[in-house]
Amino acid sequence: MAGLTTFRGKVAGMDRVNVDTDQIIPKQFLKRTEKTGFGQYLFYDWRFQADGTPNPDFELNRPENNGAEILVANENFGCGSSREHAPWALLDYGIKIVIAPSFADIFHQNCLKNGMLPVVLKDEEVRYLIEKAKDENYELTVSLKDKTVKDSEGFQAEFPISDYWQTMLVNGWDEIELTLQLDERILAYEESLI
């Protein structure tokens, strides 16, 4: 996991509420034993028609969204199961950042743990971005250091993120390594159980 500080990328809008993990990565694709290769199945049932050809109406298939790396979605994004295949699929597809007014808890955690940034913005800010994303060339700059999202036309919004996750992501740290340094504390706790 490389460190993440500032990211500039093309934006795609997905104006849907309660997008669940069964849609992000349908269960028939959960049988792989690797973390990679899930991008081809991202939003499978929405992205492809019954005959396997791309569904031209689906947001990510529209020409203006080709190559998007930032996804702007609506409330309660990522609800449903705890499958980490959901952020893996988004990352593998090329999405680095998801912006929404709210996220489901486990999905939010799973994003952070995979170095993908879930950005919570206000309702009206998200609505503005979804409108703007219809423009093929629309880009956003997300700064993890300043906790801001900006465009080149003067839009600027701040997003919340805990100091802990900010530090973890900026440095690209491995959480397990960090915990193992506390081994003595864990041992002491385990001894107190007996």
Partner: protein, 471 residues
Amino acid sequence: MAKTIIDKLWDKHIVHREEGKPDLIYIDLHLVHEVTSPQAFSGLKMKNRKVRRPDRTFATVDHNVPTVNRFNITDPVAQNQMETLRNNCKEFGITLADINSPEQGIVHVIGPELGLTQPGMTIVCGDSHTSTHGAFGSLAFGIGTSEVEHTLATQTLWQSKPKSLKVQIDGKLGKGVLAKDVILYVLSKYGVNFGTGHIIEYCGDVIENMTMEERMTVCNMSIEGGARAGLVAPDDTTIEYLRGRKYVPAGQEFEELAEQWKALASDEGATYDKEIYIEASEIAPMVSWGTNPSQTAPVTGRVPFLGECESENEKRSVASALKYMDFIEGQRIADIKIQKVFIGSCTNSRLEDLRLAAEIAKGRKVHPDVEAIVVPGSQNVKVLAEAEGLDKIFLDAGFEWRESGCSMCLSMNADIVPAGEHCASTSNRNFEGRQGAGARTHLVSPAMAAAAAVNGCFVDVRTMESAEAVH
């Protein structure tokens, strides 16, 4: 200061606390299944790490297993996933209730029935319905695969303490109104994210009077309201359920534990971040009509009109659900025709659930347009059900009687609802495509599912004979 059970459980498990960081909490029990674990084990191997406490880790296969011909797995990718778990358990010394074990079953069914799940514990599993175990007064929550790896390596997790939410349900449920109806009602009233960022404590007369299996049904669907976990304080019902189970200590040690468990209950005067109060008399048998579990109505009701929606977002979500389900606005629930019935899943596949469904099925026949399957939650449940002849009742009525597993709850195996068909299902999610691409799921109680099977449409179980017994 007066503490809630949530505070007590949290404080008891803090290994390390530091300003500006989440707490490092100890995990007492880690349940593992085949779908969310392979990448975690390979992460360990890549870094040459060990499983810290194989003795606190327990694995089974459930999501992928076939429910007919279970030893003949034709899907090579599923087979590989199960084989991978088998090898990982062997390599790291983890107990596995494998496909041929009499203890195999859905991970959230076997934890409690084997007594692995105990009050006061922190329990995690790479599965969102881990909240089921909260019924025992444990802090049980679903985690992603990175956290599975973290737990395997360290037996701890970094967690920020969620807020507390009290859901109190008072009064007495009407006949034919079951635990499943209670939680579906809560979701229909408060939506799919009323619990986000919270741990729910369920309490009140209705919860106190519930059996452990009923409490599990309620806690199971906490995640459908967005909550991190849901729990019920341990009481005599909890203790009597656990007495004598395989992994629970016996004798004097059990009595001492029982005392400690009872002390976990929230203190008088403890305060919560949010509180919800519900009257049991408001609740009727419920049927979900849409594509998320809050899109649910009483069986006597109807689907909404778009004009009734309170916000633009709700309107959009209702419109897309109506389209997917092929319903018109205002359509009556009683007019929905059913082609499939699934009785099973970690929500409703325990012995009591099967008894409730059998009560309705007894002496009746599955409607000619319906295919109905009953999938016990575990091999243990299957054996117990067969011992009291429930399998015979179902088979005589024309239901299929299957082997245990997740089955049609998420249809990762061969049990799939064909596109366009409507399924009355005792599972917990009615998302688009959950039971198969284009499948239309209706979440209901086991009694309502059996009633739908014999009638070919939704019928209020309260009006059916023998509903007297369904309580």
